[in-house]
Structure formats: structure tokens, C-alpha cells
Symmetry: C2
Subunit: 440 residues, 2 copies
């Protein structure tokens, strides 16, 4: 367990004030460094280190002057690429041109932060903020924290104390699907498929995705219900299964590698965690997966965690870094947004598996994008709001429901065009659009 | 913590087979005995021991031959009694005549069961079923259980082991309301208000209820958001508050007692717990509040717990008491029903506070009861299905949504009468009804 903590004295030194967001964001990156070490022993952990970085995450990095460093190490993704059963491929763009999602590789350590790896938290006091760690050398270390920021993941050790308090709301929901990772090697030193795409093989109750890595490999992730994983027990069954559902992937992964790698690790579980409040007295606050583990189907896990830091930093500025006021406000502001993204990721879990395949989904997508072009301020696709803006997650959801109603009225009931909903800026673009049509 | 466990050897002895439901139901009653002891020190715990017993609970008791014993110690409730702000009262019946809910007082201990009070569970092994208890005398006791039945309440110690397993779904949700109990003494040796009613003072964001006890007192329970409890801090403020919202209750409770008792205990929290699965290997199964703590707004907490036993017993019979088959089947069958009653109790939490007061609620209630009279097999009010039948909870909810749609069509859109939905038995009763109308 990697525990992240901040001692106030470390971030006000020498006139060079470093805000909490700095420390937290760095710590998260440190967290990734730790995962990078794990990657060398990938067999043990079997965890994907492909993380999608988009607008929210970039804004947080920008705030601490690290955006460029990180972005230069990423691979931009412009679009989804859908693989049909018959081997044909077609792209579904994420949003408008120029909107890209980045795959983040581990970053450098930021200065002014003390990192302590391999410190296992044994206990902490909600009253005094005293923490006891077990070090790798077997010695115990006690520290006194001014503020404990628990960013220790979905199975947070910090959060356990919260569960002992009254009136702490908590839920953990496992989805029926597990995941399994396979590697697709380069062909003649080049990517085996088009990079800059999130490759998706949607097959109703299950699906496979593939994400590019800097070393020209792809990490393929197969998502499937646990009971279906149990039906495939021999190498021949694996080939048979792929032949049936992902025939185009067999030569790319390699039949022998497929037979071998499929059984390297059992399928891994995925959990969605929601809780509230995020703070305990003025001593402790939860951020990132510790506060809101999400299923990995919206590519927002890391972005939401980074945005936590940004929101916390904004509130720190507003309330003059007074923890007793900042912490409750952080809970008040952030809980509805994190709950919304957890729900959206769960919703996308269903959508990615089945709807991506359906004509109705594609038609709605087409209508949404069309409406977005003619009314760019009024109709904004949900994915765009979530991935390429800082619209609060819960407001994006509210707006999406409203837009859905408007679009469905237009599509299914041929209702009156909702002119009264138009904003002035949209009117202008609508007129341009009209003019443009006339000219052509 | 009171832990309930069953050793297989104790229920097959001497040719006198006692089914699990027997033991569990008794154990639950033993649980209540324990609460009875707590009642003598009521100030410490502040817990209501008024429990509503209705059809499902009675069916479980009947199965073990204890229905009459228990029912004779209860006070039948025929109806709700609504107290308006201006002091007027009017009843809203629960269902048809003769359908009553009972308030259960503690029962005798059933034979053939060994009860161990004041045994605190320290640990148990999911592999061997070995359990370690701390006794009141400070000694540790180890036992070997064939099956551990965790009925140890909303904060179950048994359930903690489940949380350590992967893929255990769990949620605990605290509602914003707390509750506080007050006693309404008898007047001239008689009940201060009409007994046989659940008295309700609905006041939108908060409410008070009163339930009769065998000693002719009423236990009044005030449900209110925690922040509003915090606004009332002095005896005078209590009187002012009651004067404003519950004026008719002041003389019945007594102003002095009210000022004193209001501050005896802080407001208590209420939690809703849902989880899945209910079993862990073939060693352990959760029942009652340990599996599904519900908020106390449907009067089904104990009934759902007793029905757990009944369902378990039915599955035991079906599957020849083979735990490795019975336990997964119990999870499969029971989880959707317990989740449904937890959701319904939460729904009623909203309804009891505000809708009971509204004309629309009363009108719908009237229509539902009317439809129920003319189509007794087709339209059954939700409360009736839940409280007076053994319709599976999740099926009751499904049917309720369907009925709601039908009724709303009738009321709001004046749609065609859904003749095609009528069952034959309803046609008969409809014809009788028609005939009856003609004659009169």
C-alpha cells in the first residue's frame, strides 16, 4: 500500500508556496512510478498501466507546470476504431477535430516533495493525525500529519477509519465482468494496427479493446463475464473462441502467444466505489480512487482524480487554506461530481459492450454531432462535456438528460424545433451554417 | 455483539428434527430477549423495541408452531391515524378489514436451542468454520460450526469477513434523518390516544409517529434531519418547536417530561445496508439485518428477517439440506427480494414524510382501494402485497409499477378500461359488484 501524505511544513518553505494540488498531483505520478516498477514484474500484478489523460487531467497538470512534460510522453488518440466480426474496421470520432485523448506514461518526479515508498500504514488517529507506518526494513515509523490526503486507491487503508465512524455512506459494487490482458507485438518494428485509436471489438455481452504503447506494442484487454471465462480452459478453446469472435486479432497477437498468455493470470475483478463524506474532522481527506474508484469504461479515472486536486486547490485559495472550512466544502462540492462520473462509467460499461454496435446508437451519435455543429453551445455531446471540458460531471449528466429529451423529441416525435432553447451564439452559428449550405 | 450460530448436531437429535427456520426464528427471538434486557437500561441504548409483525413474520412463526404464543402478546393495529397541524385526526386503513399488523413484544425461548449470551466474536475462519469468542468472564472459547448463520445485525461482525473477499457487493447508506424517542404515559390508567393505530404526525421534512405498548404507554418517535435537531438546544426551544408542529402532543407527553426526555439521548442515526452474495463458501450465510438492514419506514424489518428463515427452510427441504447447494440458491432467490424491500423502505421514508399529507396521495389511495375492490386479483395495493401476502418483494415492486401505469392511465388520460387485463376471478367479482349496484 502506498500512502500519500502531506506535512504542512513541506509546502510553505522558503517563500516558495507549493499548493496541495502540486503535491497531490505529483504524488499520483509517484504512484504511477511505483506501478512502473510493478510492470517489470507484470506477471504478478496483471494491471494495465494505460491511463487516458484528457482535458481535466491536463488542466491539473497545467496548474503545476507539468502539462508539456507529460503530454510529450503520451500517444494521442483521435477516435475509436470499431472492429466488426467480419474483419472490417470503421472509426467513430470522440468529438470535434483536434480533441484528443492522451495515453499517459509515467512521469518524472516533481521537486519539493518527499517520497516514501514501501511504507505500509498500520494505523492512524482521527483525533491527533498521528500515523504509524511499517517500513520495508521491518521498523515502525511514527509521523504527525497536519493533513492526511488518502489517495491510496480503491481498497484504501485510510478509508477504513472512515467506515468506523457513524453516518459514513459507502458502497462497493463489483461488475459481473472480469478482464484479462494480452500483448500485441509490433510487426516489422511498427504498430500492428493503426495507432492513435482506441480499438474496440464490441461483441454484446463481452468486448475487447486495444491501446497503443510507446514501445509500438498494443495492450489488448478482454472484458467478459466471469462465468464465460470459466468456459475457456484449454489453449485450443482459446483459439476456437478467438476464431469465433476476434478472428482478425489472432494473427496480430500470434496463436502461440495467445494460447500461452491467456492463462498467465486469472481474470481480474473490477469495482466501483462511492462514498461520502470525503473528509474526517479537519485531519483527513480522500481523493482519487480512494474516494471514487470507477470502472474503466469512460477513461476518466485518472482525470477525475487529478481534477479532485484542482478543485481542492481552488477551494484552498477561496478559503485561505483553513482546513476546517476547506474540507467540508470540498466534500460538498466534489461528492456529487465524483458520484456522477462513477455512474457514467457504469453506464458506459453497458453502452460500450452493446450499443456501439447498434444502428440506433450510431444514428443518435450522428444526430448529436449534427446538432452540436449547428448549435455548438446548446447541444454538446455527453462524451465531449465529460472528456474535453471542465463542466462539472453532475451538471454534464443533468444537461445530457435534457439534451436527450430534446433530441428524442426531434427524432421520434418530429416536435417543433426548440428555437426557444437556442442561445445567441448558436443563432449566429446557425445562420452561418444556413449561409454555408446556400453557397454550396 | 450477539452472534447467532447453529451447530448441525443440535438440530437433528433424538428423531426430533428441528429445521433451521426453527432455530433461526428462535434465535431472533432470543435476540429480542437480549434487547429486552437492554430496555431496562434504555437510557444507554435508546433503541425502540416496537416491532411490527405482519403476514410474512407470522407465516415463519406458524411454521415453528409459535404464531399463537407470539400473537397473543401483540397489540393489533388496524390503521394509520393522521394528526393534522390543527389537531384533527383521521384514519387511513392499511388494507381491507381484518388485515392487521401486530406489535410484537418479546417471546419465550423455544426449546432445543442452546443460547449463549454475551459472547463477542473475535474471529472466524472462512475455510474451517472455526470461531473464537470472548466470553463475559474474559475467557476465550473456540467452537467448530458446521454452518454459521450471521444474524448479528446491521453492523454484523460476521459480515466483516465477507468484505475481505473479492467480488462482495456492499453498500451502507445513512439517511439525513435521525430519530429520538419520547414516552407518552397512560391517562387514568388508559391509553392517552386510541390504541390499535399507528399515529402519524406528517410535517413534510420531518414527522413523528407513536406506537402503543402493552403497559398502556405510547412510544413516540420523532424523525427529523440532523441539522434541525441541532437547532433545538434548550427546553424552551423544545416546547416552542412542539407548539408549532405537534401542539396536540404536548399535554399528552407532558411539558416537563418533554423538556427533560428530549435531551436524554442524542438523535440516533438510521442506516440501510444491502449486500450480495449472502453466503461464503458452504460455511456461512447472512440473514436478517446482517444481510439487509432497512430503514424503519415499512414495518418490514423483522418480517423480512423471519421470511429469510422461511425461504431458507424451503430451500433446505428442496435440496435435501445439502449446504453446498442450499447456500448459493438462497443467495440467488433471496437477494433480489431483500434489495427490493430495502428500496421500498427508503421510498416510504419519503412518502410517509410528505405524501401522506397530500390530497393526490389520498386520491390515488382511494382509486387503488376502489380498483382493488372491483378487481381484487388484478389490482392489489403495494402495501397490501408487501404486508399481507407472501408475494415476493421484488415481484410486488414489479407489479406495483405496472399497476401504477394502469391507474395513471385511468386517472390522468382517461384511457380505455383495461378489460384485457382482467382475470376471470375479477370478472366474477366485477359482475357481482355490478349486480350489487343495480339492486341498490
Amino acid at each position: 500500500i502506498l500512502l500519500l501524505y502531506i506535512q504542512k511544513k513541506t509546502f510553505g518553505v522558503g517563500g516558495n508556496t507549493i499548493h496541495l494540488v502540486t503535491v497531490s498531483a505529483c504524488m499520483r505520478l509517484a504512484c504511477h512510478r511505483s506501478r512502473n516498477n510493478i510492470r517489470q514484474a507484470k506477471i504478478v500484478k496483471g494491471r494495465s498501466i494505460n491511463l487516458a489523460l484528457s482535458h481535466r487531467g491536463r488542466q491539473a497538470l497545467k496548474q503545476v507546470g507539468m502539462e508539456d512534460t507529460i503530454v510529450s510522453k503520451g500517444i494521442p488518440m483521435h477516435s475509436r476504431m470499431i472492429h466488426s466480426l467480419n474483419g472490417t474496421q470503421y472509426p467513430i470520432p470522440y468529438g470535434k477535430k483536434g480533441q484528443v485523448t492522451l495515453l499517459l506514461q509515467p512521469a518524472e518526479t516533481y521537486s519539493n516533495t518527499k517520497l516514501n515508498f514501501a511504507h505500509k500504514l498500520l494505523n492512524w488517529s482521527t483525533e491527533t493525525g498521528a500515523m504509524t507506518f511499517l517500513r520495508a526494513d521491518g521498523a515502525k515509523e511514527e509521523i504527525q500529519a497536519d493533513l492526511i490526503v488518502g489517495c491510496d486507491g480503491a481498497f484504501s487503508a485510510i478509508r477504513k477509519q472512515f467506515l468506523r465512524q457513524s453516518r459514513f455512506n459507502f458502497s462497493q459494487t463489483y461488475i459481473p465482468h472480469g478482464y484479462l490482458e494480452l500483448t500485441m507485438p509490433p510487426i516489422n518494428g511498427e504498430f500492428a494496427m493503426k495507432p492513435n485509436y482506441l480499438h474496440i471489438w464490441p461483441r454484446n455481452t463481452f468486448m475487447m479493446i486495444a491501446l497503443p504503447n510507446l514501445d509500438k506494442t498494443f495492450t489488448c484487454t478482454l472484458f467478459m463475464p466471469f462465468d464465460e471465462f470459466e468456459n475457456v480452459t484449454t489453449g485450443d478453446q482459446v483459439i476456437e473462441f478467438f476464431q469465433k469472435y476476434f478472428p482478425d486479432a489472432i494473427p496480430l497477437i500470434g496463436a502461440d502467444a495467445l494460447k500461452r498468455d491467456y492463462f498467465r493470470l486469472p481474470a481480474q475483478a473490477m469495482v466501483s466505489v462511492k462514498c461520502s463524506p470525503y473528509h474526517l474532522s479537519d485531519k483527513c481527506v480522500l481523493m482519487g480512487d480512494a474516494a471514487h474508484a470507477v470502472v474503466p469504461f469512460y477513461g476518466q479515472g485518472m482525470n477525475a482524480g487529478f481534477e479532485d486536486c484542482l478543485v481542492f486547490n481552488e477551494i484552498m485559495d477561496q478559503l485561505n487554506e483553513d482546513f476546517s472550512a476547506v474540507l467540508p466544502e470540498y466534500t460538498r462540492v466534489r461528492v456529487p461530481d465524483d458520484h456522477a462520473i462513477a455512474d457514467l462509467a457504469m453506464y458506459n460499461y453497458v453502452e460500450m459492450r452493446s450499443h456501439v454496435n447498434s444502428k440506433w446508437f450510431l444514428f443518435r451519435k450522428y444526430i448529436d454531432n449534427f446538432l452540436h455543429i449547428i448549435m455548438p453551445r446548446t447541444i454538446i455531446p455527453l462524451y465531449t462535456m465529460v472528456t474535453f471540458t471542465r463542466t462539472r460531471y453532475h451538471e454534464a449528466v443533468k444537461r445530457w438528460h435534457w439534451q436527450d429529451k430534446v433530441r428524442n423529441d426531434i427524432v421520434t416525435r418530429r416536435a417543433c424545433w426548440p428555437w426557444h432553447c437556442l442561445k445567441f451564439s448558436d443563432l449566429a452559428s446557425l445562420m452561418t451554417c444556413h449561409f454555408f449550405n446556400k453557397e454550396n
